[in-house]
C-alpha cells in the first residue's frame, strides 16, 4: 500500500473575491426599483440644497407686486405667492435648511445612541439598569414637544435644533443597538477576545461594533425620515428660519390661510416637497432593511 504525503486540506476557500459578501448585498439592493426611486428623489433635493439659488429660475426673494397670487403657468411653474415671489424658486431654495439640519441631527443621535447602546448591551447589570431607566424616561418624551421646550429655553438656532432632535433620538437608537449587542456578546469571538486580555473599549468598538452596523444603518435611515418631518414641523411652528427666508414648513405656516382663498399652490408644493423627501428616505430605508434582513 503506497502512502502519499499530507496534502493541504480542502483548497476550499470559495473562489470569491474579498468584498464578495458586501457586493452581493449591493447587487441585491440595486435590483430593487423602489430603492432607485428613493435615491433619485433624494438626489434631486440634494442638488437643490447645494445649488439652490444657482438653479432656481428666479430669485426667491424677488417680489413682484404686478403678479401676486398667480396660479401655476408657463412663467411661474408653481405659481407665485402673496408678495409675487416665484414659488418654484422658493421651494428649491427652501430645501437647504432641512437638508442640513435633519441629517446632522440624525447623525448626532445615531452616534450617541450607538455608543450608549454598546455600553448598555456590553456591560449589562447595574450600568444597563441605570442608563436604561434614563432611556425609558426619554422615550416617553414626544419629539416635537421636547424640541419646542429646548428651543424655547435655549433660543432659536440650527445648532440647538440639531442637538434637541439628536438627544431625543439617542435613546431610540440606543435601544436597538443594545438588543443587537446583547446577542453579539454571547458569541464565542467575544470570549476569545477576553481570553487574550482585550479591554472593554476594544471589544465594544473593534470586535462588536462592526457586527452591529447593519441595524445601526437601518435605524439611521428610519430616523432620518422622522427628523425631516420634525424639522418641517418645527419651522411650521416658527422655530426655524425666519421670514423672508424660504423654508418649506415656514412657508406652509405663512400661506395656509391663502388656501381658503383658492391659492392652493402656495401650500401644496411645499407640502409635496416635504412628503417626497420623507417618502424617498423611507423607500431607501425599507430597501436596505429588506436586503440586510435576508
Amino acid at each position: 500500500m503506497s502512502v502519499t504525503a499530507v496534502p493541504v486540506e480542502s483548497a476550499g476557500a470559495l473562489s470569491a473575491g474579498k468584498t464578495e459578501v458586501r457586493r452581493e448585498l449591493l447587487r441585491e439592493l440595486a435590483r430593487s426599483p423602489l430603492f432607485w426611486v428613493g435615491c433619485f428623489i433624494l438626489l434631486v433635493w440634494i442638488v437643490c440644497a447645494i445649488f439652490g439659488s444657482t438653479i432656481a429660475p428666479d430669485s426667491p426673494f424677488g417680489q413682484n407686486l404686478e403678479s401676486i397670487n398667480k396660479a401655476p403657468s408657463g412663467a411661474h411653474l408653481f405659481g407665485t405667492d402673496a408678495l409675487g415671489r416665484d414659488m418654484l424658486s422658493r421651494v428649491i431654495v427652501g430645501s437647504r435648511d432641512i437638508m442640513i439640519i435633519a441629517p446632522l441631527a440624525t447623525l448626532l443621535g445615531t452616534v450617541a445612541g450607538t455608543v450608549l447602546g454598546l455600553i448598555m448591551g456590553y456591560f449589562r447589570g447595574a450600568v444597563d439598569d441605570v442608563i436604561g431607566r434614563f432611556v425609558e424616561a426619554f422615550l416617553a418624551l414626544p419629539l416635537v414637544v421636547t424640541a419646542l421646550l429646548v428651543t424655547n429655553a435655549l433660543g432659536r438656532s440650527n445648532a440647538i435644533i440639531i442637538v434637541a432632535i439628536g438627544i431625543v433620538f439617542t435613546p431610540l437608537i440606543a435601544r436597538t443597538v443594545r438588543a443587537a449587542v446583547i446577542q453579539e456578546r454571547e458569541l464565542d469571538y467575544v470570549a476569545a477576545a477576553k481570553l487574550r486580555d482585550e479591554n472593554a473599549f476594544y471589544i465594544m468598538f473593534v470586535e462588536i461594533l462592526p457586527n452591529v452596523l447593519a441595524p445601526v444603518l437601518v435605524e439611521f435611515t428610519v430616523r432620518l425620515g422622522y427628523a425631516i418631518f420634525t424639522v418641517a414641523t418645527l419651522s411650521f411652528l416658527g422655530l426655524g428660519l425666519q421670514p423672508p427666508n424660504p423654508d418649506w414648513g415656514l412657508e406652509i405656516q405663512q400661506n395656509y390661510g391663502q388656501v381658503v382663498a383658492g391659492f392652493w399652490w402656495e401650500v401644496l408644493f411645499d407640502a409635496l416637497a416635504i412628503a417626497s423627501l420623507v417618502i424617498a428616505v423611507n423607500l431607501i430605508s425599507d430597501s436596505i432593511e429588506r436586503v440586510l434582513e435576508r
Binding site: M1, S2, V3, T4, A5, V6, P7, V8, E9, S10, A11, G12, A13, L14, S15, A16, K18, E20, V21, L187, D188, Y189, A191, A192, K194, L195, R196, D197, E198, E207, P210, N211
Partner: protein, 690 residues
C-alpha cells in the same frame, strides 16, 4: 461485465409497485441568472417496506433530492430532468390539490431540527391531532388518536405531553412527537433527513430503535438521509453514496461498508476513527482537496482531482454507473481496484512519549458551579476533582447538560466557579476570572470553540484574526509578527492567499484551522478543544484531528478535549473523564476506561453509538433523558436511568470513588470486580479492541 445499465429497469413481474422510484433525476438551481445543475442523473428506488439510505458529506445533494421528492424545492430550484414516482404515481405532474393529497396521505418527512417543525404557540396535542384531521379523521376522534399515536412512539405520559408547548419538551421528545405526526396518516413512504443529528448519542440510539420498531409495525418504506455512516449501516437495507450531486455507488448496505467499490466510499470509510486505531499508532486518513463548486465541474470523473487512483482515462472519460453484480453499481472506471486506494496520511509518526510521567499542570479540586435562574439553583458542576498533566490529552465525555462546557469555561476563567473551588496552574492558585489572571496565566490557557462561525469575528480578515492574537498574547511586533504569522499559518496548513479572506469565505475546515492558529498564537500550554470537529464532515474532521495531534507533538501542549463522539475521544485521548449531571462518574487512562470495567453510565454511552464494526451488537439502553440539574436525583445521581440499578442504596447514598486500576476510578456502589464480571470485560469489549 461492465456496461452502463439502467439501475431501475421496470420489473413487471413484481406484484407491488415501489414506494419511491427516482429515475435520471436532474435538479437545477437558478443562481444569478445561471442554471446550476446540483443533482445529475440520479436513479434509485425504495421498495415496499424497504429502508434506503442516502449518504455523503454536506453539499452533495442529499437534502435537495429529499425536497424534490415531495416537491418542496426552494423557489429558484426545479427538477430539470428525469422522473419521480411515489407509489407509481408521477409526482412531477401533480397539481396543487393532488400534491396536498400526496403529502397528507402517502408521504411524510422528518427533519433534523424537531423544534422548528412544530409551532411554538400551539399545544403539542392540538398539533398532532391536526395531522389526523387533515388525513380525514373527525375532530372529536382526532385527539384520541393523537394520544394513541404518542403512546406508540413510546412517550410514557402522552396526556402530559399533549398539554405542553414544544419548548417545554426536550429534543428527543420533540423528535418523537414529530415522528408521531409523520406516521399519523400511515404513509407508505417516510423520508427522514438527518433525524438524529441534533440529538445526543443516547437519545439518538433510542430514536433509531423507535424508528426500526415502527417500521416493523407499520411496514413503512424509509428514505433515510444521513452523513453518519454508522447510523446508515444500522438503519438501512440498501445505500446510495452521493458525491457532488451524482450517485457514486449503490448496493446493499452491508456489502458497501464491507467492500466498498468506489474510491470515494473507501476514503470516507477510512476517515472515521476506528476503535483499534489510536493516535499513537497512526494519523487518520483524509480525503485530499474539496468538493468541486457547483456549476464548475471538471471534465471526466468529477472525483478525479481528489482520487489517489486517478488515471488519464478518468480525466478524459466520464465513468458510467458500472453494474458490478449483486445489485451493486459503481461510478468508477477502476472499481475492481478501488480498495487499493493509497492511504493519505503523514507517513512516519515519531513514537510519542507517554505523558503519564509528567507532573500535574492543572489541578482542579472541589470545583462547583451553581447557576441561579428564576429563583432556582441549577447545579452545573458539583465537586469536580481533576488533574491535567503536561502534554496529555484528557477526554471529557458526557451527554449534553452534563457540564462539559461549564467545566471548560470555569477553567478558562469565562465563568466564575462557586466559593471554595480551587484551580491551580503549576501549583499556583488561578484567579477565578480571566481578567484577574496574569498575562502568563492567560497565555497558558486557550480554547478552540465548537462553532467557528461564532468564534471568529465575521468582520475581520484571517490576517487580522491571527495577528491580533499574536501581538496580544505572543507580544510580537512588526517584522517578527509577520514571520511568526507565516510560520503559524503554514503549521495549520493555511496558505497565504487565505489571509485576506473573511471567515464567511472559508469552508468549515478552513475556519477551524484559523481558530486553531489563533489558539496557538501565544504558545499555550493547555488548549481546551470544545467539540472542535462536531460541525465538520468526516473527511475534514480527520484532517483537523491530525492537525491537533501534530501540533500537540510539536508544541508539547495539553488538551482538554470535549466531545460527544466517543470514537474521536478514544482515538485522541490519553485519559478520559466521564461527567454526568456535573459530577465525575469515572476517570482513568483511555485504554482502561474503554476496555472496562466501566461505570454503568460509560457502558451505556459506549453502547449507544452506532458503529460500522458492530451494527448487530446487543445494546444497553438508557431510559429517558438526563434529569434536570436544578433537581438532581438523590444518592447516586445516575440511579434513575441506571441499567445496573442495585436497589435502595443507590437512591440514598452517594457512591464512593472506587479504584479499578491504578489511576482508574469508578463512582459506583457495584464493586469493581463485580462490574468486571457483569460486563464480561475480558469478553466482547476486549476482543473488539485488540
Amino acid at each position: 461485465m461492465s456496461t452502463q445499465t439502467d439501475p431501475i429497469a421496470p420489473d413487471q413481474s413484481s406484484a407491488q409497485v415501489d414506494a419511491l422510484t427516482v429515475e435520471n433525476l436532474e435538479i437545477s438551481y437558478r443562481v444569478r441568472g445561471r442554471q446550476i445543475r446540483v443533482v445529475r442523473d440520479v436513479s434509485f428506488r425504495v421498495g415496499r417496506g424497504e429502508s434506503y439510505g442516502l449518504v455523503g458529506e454536506s453539499g452533495n445533494g442529499k437534502s435537495t433530492i429529499a425536497l424534490a421528492v415531495v416537491r418542496y424545492l426552494a423557489r429558484n430550484g426545479r427538477v430539470s430532468g428525469g422522473s419521480i414516482a411515489i407509489d407509481g404515481r408521477d409526482v412531477l405532474g401533480m397539481n396543487a390539490q393532488q400534491l396536498r393529497d400526496l403529502r397528507a396521505h402517502t408521504v411524510s418527512m422528518v427533519y433534523q431540527e424537531p423544534g422548528r417543525a412544530l409551532n411554538p404557540t400551539i399545544r403539542v396535542g392540538r398539533q398532532v391531532a391536526e395531522v389526523f384531521e387533515i388525513a380525514g379523521v373527525e375532530k372529536d376522534k382526532a385527539l384520541e388518536q393523537a394520544r394513541g399515536m404518542l403512546a406508540k412512539v413510546q412517550i410514557s405520559d402522552p396526556d402530559g405531553v399533549m398539554r405542553r408547548y414544544p419548548h417545554q419538551l426536550s429534543g428527543g421528545m420533540l423528535q418523537r412527537v414529530v415522528i408521531a405526526m409523520a406516521l399519523a396518516a400511515e404513509p407508505s413512504l417516510l423520508i427522514l433527513d438527518e433525524p438524529t443529528t441534533a440529538l445526543d448519542a443516547t437519545v439518538e440510539a433510542e430514536v433509531l430503535d423507535l424508528i426500526l420498531d415502527l417500521r416493523k409495525e407499520f411496514g413503512t418504506s424509509l428514505l433515510f438521509i444521513s452523513h453518519n455512516l454508522g447510523v446508515i449501516a444500522k438503519m438501512c437495507d440498501r445505500v446510495g453514496v452521493l458525491y457532488a450531486g451524482e450517485m457514486f455507488e449503490q448496493g446493499p448496505a452491508r456489502e458497501i461498508f464491507e467492500s466498498p467499490r468506489h474510491p470515494y466510499t473507501v476514503g470516507l470509510l477510512r476517515c472515521i476513527p476506528r476503535r483499534d486505531v489510536l493516535k499513537a499508532h497512526r494519523a487518520l486518513d483524509t480525503i485530499p482537496g474539496s468538493l468541486p463548486a457547483p456549476g464548475e465541474l471538471p471534465q471526466g470523473c468529477i472525483f478525479a482531482d481528489r482520487c489517489g487512483l486517478v488515471q488519464d482515462r478518468c480525466r478524459a472519460e466520464k465513468p458510467p454507473l458500472y453494474d458490478i453484480g449483486r445489485e451493486r453499481l459503481s461510478r468508477c472506471h477502476y472499481h475492481e481496484v478501488a480498495q487499493t486506494l493509497p492511504r493519505v496520511v503523514a507517513p512516519e509518526l515519531a513514537p510519542t512519549e507517554r505523558a503519564a510521567e509528567n507532573g500535574a499542570l492543572i489541578q482542579i479540586a472541589g470545583v462547583s458551579k451553581t447557576f441561579h435562574m428564576a429563583g432556582e439553583s441549577i447545579y452545573g458542576l458539583v465537586g469536580v476533582d481533576l488533574e491535567l498533566r503536561a502534554g496529555e490529552t484528557l477526554g471529557l465525555v458526557g451527554e449534553s447538560g452534563s457540564g462539559k462546557t461549564t467545566l471548560a469555561r470555569v477553567l478558562l476563567g469565562l465563568t466564575a466557579p462557586d466559593k471554595g473551588s480551587e484551580i491551580k496552574l503549576d501549583g499556583q492558585p488561578l484567579p477565578e476570572t480571566a481578567d484577574r489572571r496574569t498575562h502568563e496565566q492567560e497565555k497558558a490557557l486557550q480554547i478552540v470553540f465548537q462553532n467557528p462561525d461564532s468564534a471568529l469575528n465575521r468582520r475581520h480578515s484571517v490576517r487580522r484574526l491571527i495577528s491580533r492574537a499574536l501581538s496580544k498574547l505572543g507580544g510580537y511586533r512588526g517584522q517578527a509578527l509577520t514571520e511568526r504569522l507565516m510560520k503559524l499559518i503554514s503549521e495549520v496548513r493555511l496558505s497565504e492567499r487565505h489571509l485576506g479572506l473573511r471567515p464567511a469565505q472559508l469552508s468549515g475546515g478552513l475556519k477551524q484551522r484559523v481558530a486553531i492558529a489563533r489558539a496557538f498564537a501565544g504558545d499555550p500550554r493547555i488548549v481546551v478543544c470544545d467539540e472542535p470537529t462536531s460541525a465538520l464532515d468526516v473527511s475534514v474532521q480527520a484532517a483537523i484531528l491530525n492537525l491537533l495531534n501534530d501540533l500537540q507533538r510539536r508544541e508539547d501542549v495539553a488538551y482538554l478535549f470535549i466531545s460527544h463522539d466517543l470514537g474521536v475521544v478514544r482515538y485522541l485521548s490519553d485519559r478520559i473523564v466521564v461527567l454526568y449531571l456535573g459530577r465525575v462518574m469515572e476517570v482513568g487512562p483511555a485504554e482502561s476506561v474503554f476496555s472496562g470495567p466501566q461505570h454503568p453510565y460509560t457502558e451505556a454511552l459506549l453502547s449507544a453509538v452506532p458503529t460500522l464494526e458492530d451494527a448487530a451488537k446487543e445494546r444497553i439502553r438508557l431510559q429517558g433523558e438526563i434529569p434536570s440539574a436544578a433537581n438532581p436525583p438523590s444518592g447516586c445521581v445516575f440511579h434513575t436511568r441506571c441499567p445496573r440499578f442495585l436497589g435502595e442504596i443507590c437512591k440514598t447514598t452517594e457512591p464512593p470513588l472506587n479504584q479499578a486500576d491504578p489511576g482508574h476510578a469508578i463512582k459506583c456502589h457495584i464493586p469493581v470486580d463485580e462490574l468486571r464480571r457483569l460486563q464480561g470485560t475480558d469478553g466482547s469489549l476486549a476482543r473488539a479492541s485488540d
